[in-house]
């Protein structure tokens, strides 16, 4: 980790909100939602108190890995416009505090998930934290343009953890939900990299836009979107799918594919002319894409006891 410059005066007293911001609350929302869907889609019911506590500890674990990521990446966060306002580069929280919070909350969340749910879920949470904070942040992110592709697995584990909380074991359905997030992550982040333009270049992060150029990134977005569409629609015919999921997936994937084709057909002049309007729209759609797919899986699982969800 390199030294970071601070922009806030030395006598600033960090508030609770500054520490909370270390936990990447927006990423936590996604983690909570996908883990919850993973847990509720499982064929085993969980006591509401156990479910609440387990999801809370998964969220804390995700937040802890976010704090560790911010501690390690403070030098590049200070360079990139998108991240310059984060608690460490803005000087509101000291790097040592972020490290302490990250390590303490990691230990607490893993231990408590083991007690609340089961040891396999706790082990999986520990693996996810290490994968994101150590494997992705400390090595992958600065080493290879495949950083987003492989690192995307970290964000894809929460539904698997949710499923394990309920069942105590792995299953194909859990890995289908994993695959959905895993395949969604590259087009989502590469669209962001396209319209954030110089951020990753300045920070010397080997994003695909930096190492292989922007036209290649556009081709990659399309290729991964095609694979994602096949996977997302195929999931509709499995036991976590059903008519609601399939209808949602067909509409969303058609829109997503159209967006990817439009990005592929454009060049930099087109994008500069409208300030990356198509890329920004695709990025916004990608957020809805994931939320609505998991919402549809949740709808199928919720309606199943009443004889409506799924294919049976």
């Amino acid at each position: 980790m390199a030294d970071t410059s601070t922009t806030t005066s030395g006598d600033y007293e960090a508030q609770l909100g500054d520490y909370f911001a270390l936990l990447k609350p927006r990423v936590m929302q996604l983690v909570v939602f996908t883990a919850l869907v993973g847990m509720l889609a499982a064929p085993v019911s969980v006591h509401p108190v156990v479910a609440f506590a387990s999801i809370l500890f998964v969220a804390i674990g995700a937040g802890a890995s976010g704090a560790l990521n911010m501690w390690w990446d403070a030098d590049i966060d200070a360079i990139m416009r998108r991240t310059a306002g984060r608690p460490i580069p803005s000087g509101r929280v000291q790097p040592g505090e972020a490290l302490a919070i990250g390590v303490a909350l990691s230990g607490l969340s893993v231990m408590m998930l083991g007690l609340a749910a089961n040891l396999l879920a706790a082990g999986m949470l520990l693996f996810t934290i290490l994968f994101y904070a150590v494997f992705y942040s400390m090595w992958l992110k600065r080493a290879t343009p495949q950083n987003i592709v492989i690192g995307g697995a970290a964000g894809a584990f929460p539904p698997v953890i949710g499923w394990i909380i309920a069942t105590g074991s792995f299953s194909v359905e859990a890995w289908l939900m994993f695959a959905l997030i895993f395949m969604w992550t590259p087009p989502h982040f590469w669209a962001l990299a396209l319209f954030m333009r110089n951020d990753y270049d300045d920070a010397k992060v080997p994003m695909l836009t930096v190492t292989h150029g922007r036209p290649s990134t556009r081709r990659h977005i399309l290729a991964y979107t095609v694979l994602l569409v096949i996977l997302a629609i195929g999931t509709g015919f499995t036991s976590i799918g059903g008519p609601i999921y399939l209808a949602t997936a067909v509409v969303l994937n058609a829109l997503f594919l159209i967006g990817a084709v439009r990005i592929w057909k454009r060049n930099e002049d087109d994008s500069e002319a409208d300030n990356f309007l198509v890329e920004r729209k695709f990025f916004r759609l990608s957020l809805w894409y994931l939320f609505l797919h998991f919402g549809a899986i949740l709808a199928e699982a919720t309606l199943r006891p009443y004889g409506f969800g799924g294919w049976s």
Partner: protein
């Protein structure tokens, strides 16, 4: 020098300390409720190592 009951630091960190206090309180409460739920949901007849023989089950 007399001891000041209210140091300037207490005022400056009031929000932060209250927040941490509330979170710790909520954590204790959660562990308590979780323990209660876990204990009341144990199926004593299916514990590893053999069932506990009650008067009714003999």
């Amino acid at each position: 020098m007399s001891i000041r009951v209210e140091h300037e630091l207490h005022t400056r960190r009031r929000g932060r300390n209250l927040g941490i206090g509330l979170m710790l309180g909520a954590f204790v409460l959660l562990v308590m409720v979780l323990t209660f739920v876990k204990i009341t949901n144990i199926d004593f007849n299916n514990l590893p190592g053999g069932a506990i023989q009650t008067q009714e089950s003999k």
